[in-house]
């Protein structure tokens, strides 16, 4: 069988690929050693903090179940409130979040989602504003006022914005009834996690990160 020109080069490509794979880079375990900067710190802080992420997920799913209008409203209200709370928190003295309050957010939003509560647009927006102000304040207060904290906050807000957009849009387009039930089941899981978090808070073993 006659080989084409590309096929004759396969051993060469394989050798180059092998050399590339065998040339390891230094593994940078921490973000501060990668030099990616404060924006990415903010991005990753939100994504790696379940006490921030899960209530936002619950709110995004809840607004997604109610439709595109709710999703669009939350998409702007929550990050704006988070930014406001964060700026206020930057100027404030350091403050630690309460695990009990985090548990309450899990219970409230998870319960509303599991029950498929038909909240008005105004109430949903108010919930989003409260959630954003509270978590933003904690994030800001945890960072303190310094040169890079505003950039961290921006990264964080960007992360919140993209996360809500994706989660709410995903739910809005669900049509089959079982898919909407699956979203409500996720709400029951969030509620259940909140109950257990409340128990851990009483024991003092909640393991929440400082904001």
């Amino acid at each position: 069988m006659k080989l084409t020109q590309n096929q004759t080069r396969i051993p060469l490509y394989a050798a180059v690929l092998f050399v590339c794979i065998m040339s390891p880079m230094v593994a940078e375990a921490h973000l501060n050693s990668t030099g990616m900067g404060p924006i990415y710190d903010g991005l990753m802080h939100f994504l790696m903090s379940p006490e921030d992420l899960v209530p936002v997920l619950a709110l995004a799913l809840l607004s997604g179940l109610r439709g595109a209008t709710f999703g669009r409203r939350i998409l702007f209200v929550l990050p704006a409130a988070w930014l406001g709370g964060g700026l206020f928190g930057l100027a404030a003295s350091a403050s630690n979040g309460s695990a009990m309050v985090s548990a309450m957010w899990f219970l409230l939003l998870g319960g509303l989602l599991a029950a498929d509560a038909r909240l008005s647009l105004r109430v949903t927006s108010a919930l989003a504003a409260l959630l954003g102000l509270y978590h933003g304040y904690l994030n800001g207060a945890g960072m303190g006022l310094n040169f890079s904290s505003a950039a961290v906050l921006l990264g964080l807000i960007f992360s919140v914005f993209v996360f809500i957009a994706l989660a709410a849009a995903f739910v809005v387009q669900l049509q089959a009834s079982w898919t909407r039930i699956a979203v409500r089941v996720a709400g029951s899981w969030i509620f259940a996690s909140g109950l257990l978090l409340m128990g851990w808070a009483v024991r003092g073993l909640h393991g929440l990160k400082s904001p």
Partner: protein
């Protein structure tokens, strides 16, 4: 000298590249035990057969009963189970936990075996009562140094997935042979429950 066919060489180079790129994530540090907390919670329900039997039986029974029980029971169980876990964490004692867990497998298995069809409220109440025992026993077993929140999330998600396994198996209920198979599965769960009851009494 024998030469390796070029096409074979290309194929094996591809396989080698896939294997070399298929690397595990290197966890340099466990920050406050958080990643480990989630994985511990995720693994915990699967590691205890008594828990697995009851969780799967809830899914099987829900699938037998059909809508709305098929989703109501798996929603009720984790929520009430978490309530039981919260009681345990707060130090509220619950007598006869091991008996309750074994009884849950026996009764839920029997319900599947006999295709017992009570009103929805009673089915939900039965499942909820047993969920308290499971939550009280297992929800509080946090390994030292790990995050309670992540452990709880992993624990609840794994429990929900076990219900999902039960529901998936229960989809065979639409066929005649599937109904018999489900009854058999119920019998196996009930027998497993009897074994755990015997162990609890013997202890």
């Amino acid at each position: 000298m024998t030469t390796i066919p070029r096409q074979l060489l290309a194929r094996w180079s591809g396989v080698l590249a896939v294997i070399l790129f298929w690397t595990e994530t290197a966890f340099a540090h466990v920050q406050k035990g958080e990643a480990a907390g989630f994985l511990s919670g995720l693994k915990h329900p699967v590691s205890g057969l008594d828990h697995v039997l009851a969780m799967v039986a809830v899914g099987l029974w829900g699938a037998q009963l059909g809508a709305p029980a098929v989703w109501l029971l798996p929603v009720a169980f984790p929520m009430v189970m978490a309530f039981g876990g919260m009681l345990g964490l707060m130090g509220v004692p619950l007598p006869g936990i091991e008996y309750g867990i074994a009884a849950s497998a026996i009764l839920l298995g029997a319900a599947v075996m006999f295709e017992f069809r009570p009103p929805l409220a009673i089915a939900a109440a039965v499942v909820a009562i047993f969920a308290i025992f499971h939550g009280h026993a297992h929800g509080t077993e946090l390994p030292p140094g790990q995050s309670g929140l992540l452990y709880s999330m992993g624990f609840v998600i794994a429990t929900g997935c076990l219900h999902g396994v039960g529901i998936s198996i229960g989809t065979v209920h639409r066929w005649g042979w599937g109904q018999k198979l489900l009854r058999l599965a119920g019998a196996v769960v009930a027998m497993g429950g009897m074994f755990f009851m015997w162990k609890a009494i013997a202890a």
